[in-house]
């Protein structure tokens, strides 16, 4: 028999950030015996008012997970915009054809101009940039998964052509998708070399 305890191994996994966050928050709220419900878009309704101390303790508990409680109205709205965009890009099997601006305005029931201004003010970036960034992130994820080729990814993310995706990828990351792929696979190989 092999002594497995002396071997280390690499496990690759996929995860759903949203579910993980919800689970973490939910666990902590339950631990504090706070009944709650999720409203979606990063909102949680707590069924009773909580003290300042309880609030601080919750905020501190969630920091290690990279989850922060948003205070201001603006921040929360920005987060909502982000969530809608992320949801749109990650959860839909294929991106909606309609313009994202219309999609966002409809989802949040606010004018796109307002959302756009607010977003730029708060994030040093624009909604468009954020969308591109998220799409490219999604493209990276799909590339890393190895299940899709560039053409399929371009279609999935609503790019008019592979070249369009490539160009945007290059503009955003400074690298072509193929050199990105090469770097990632070399990194993996490197890690596997280090493991034993």
């Amino acid at each position: 028999m092999l002594d497995y305890s002396s071997l280390s191994m690499v496990i690759n996994f996929k995860y759903d950030i949203h579910k993980a966050c919800i689970k973490i928050i939910s666990d902590h709220l339950e631990e504090m015996e706070l009944s709650h419900s999720f409203n979606g878009l990063g909102e949680i309704k707590i069924n009773k008012s909580i003290s300042e101390e309880e609030f601080e303790s919750l905020r501190n508990k969630l920091i290690p997970y990279g989850i922060s409680i948003i205070n201001s109205q603006k921040e929360s709205l920005v987060q909502k915009i982000k969530d809608v965009i992320v949801e749109m890009i990650y959860l839909e099997e294929k991106l909606p054809i309609s313009k994202t601006s219309t999609y966002l305005a409809e989802k949040l029931n606010l004018s796109y101009g307002y959302l756009s201004n607010l977003f730029s003010e708060e994030t040093f970036s624009t909604i468009e940039n954020f969308i591109i960034l998220q799409k490219i992130e999604r493209a990276k994820e799909l590339l890393i998964s190895g299940d899709y080729n560039l053409t399929e990814i371009a279609y999935k993310l609503n790019y008019s052509s592979v070249a369009h995706l490539s160009n945007q990828f290059k503009k955003t990351t400074g690298l072509t998708p193929s050199s990105f792929q090469r770097i990632i696979s070399r990194r993996k190989a490197n890690k596997q070399l280090e493991q034993p």
């Binding site: 950030i17 990279g66 982000k82 992320v86 994030t123 040093f124 970036s125 940039n129 954020f130 960034l133 998220q134 992130e137 990276k140 994820e141 890393i144 955003t172 990351t173 400074g174 690298l175 050199s179 990105f180 090469r182 770097i183 990632i184 070399r186 990194r187 490197n190």
Partner: protein, 148 residues
């Protein structure tokens, strides 16, 4: 708001480059604090010293006396406390090999030192905002690669 200050740490032995760097960042008006060190050893000491703020991005020149950028990069990636840091390589080299090797070793950003101050400003803006996005928008840090 102190919390929203962006800390960046630069390791470059060239005084002029440090000057360009901090000028460029300051001109961006992004509420950024630049900490600069002159070589790799000093950099590692700075990072390990308690009380120093945790930088959002560490900029490393490749060619430095005592400890080069690549050595620092490897050391940072090996250290459990530091490996989550965003690392940017800030170098004169435009060779594809240097760029890829840096990324493979775990660098997130590669900046070829431009020969135009305006280009440098733009690049810094992009790097900092992109890094900000990755830090604040729950993006996958592992696939954060940016070549400017």
């Amino acid at each position: 708001m102190a919390q929203d200050q962006i800390h960046v740490l630069l390791a470059d032995d060239d005084e002029d480059d440090r000057l360009f760097f901090s000028d460029a960042i300051h001109q961006l008006n992004l509420n950024t604090v630049v900490h600069a060190v002159e070589d790799g050893e000093e950099l590692m000491n700075w990072l390990r010293k308690e009380g120093n703020p945790r930088p959002h991005v560490v900029f490393l020149d490749l060619n430095m006396p005592k400890k080069g950028g690549i050595e620092c990069l490897e050391e940072i990636k090996k250290c459990p406390h530091l490996k989550e840091l965003s690392v940017a390589i800030y170098s004169t080299s435009s060779s594809q090999k240097d760029i890829e090797d840096s990324f493979v070793l775990g660098a997130n950003i590669y900046i070829k030192k431009p020969n135009d101050f305006n280009v440098l400003k733009k690049a810094m803006g992009k790097v900092i905002s992109m890094n900000w996005q990755f830090c604040t928008s729950g993006l996958n840090k592992e696939s954060f690669i940016l070549n400017v």
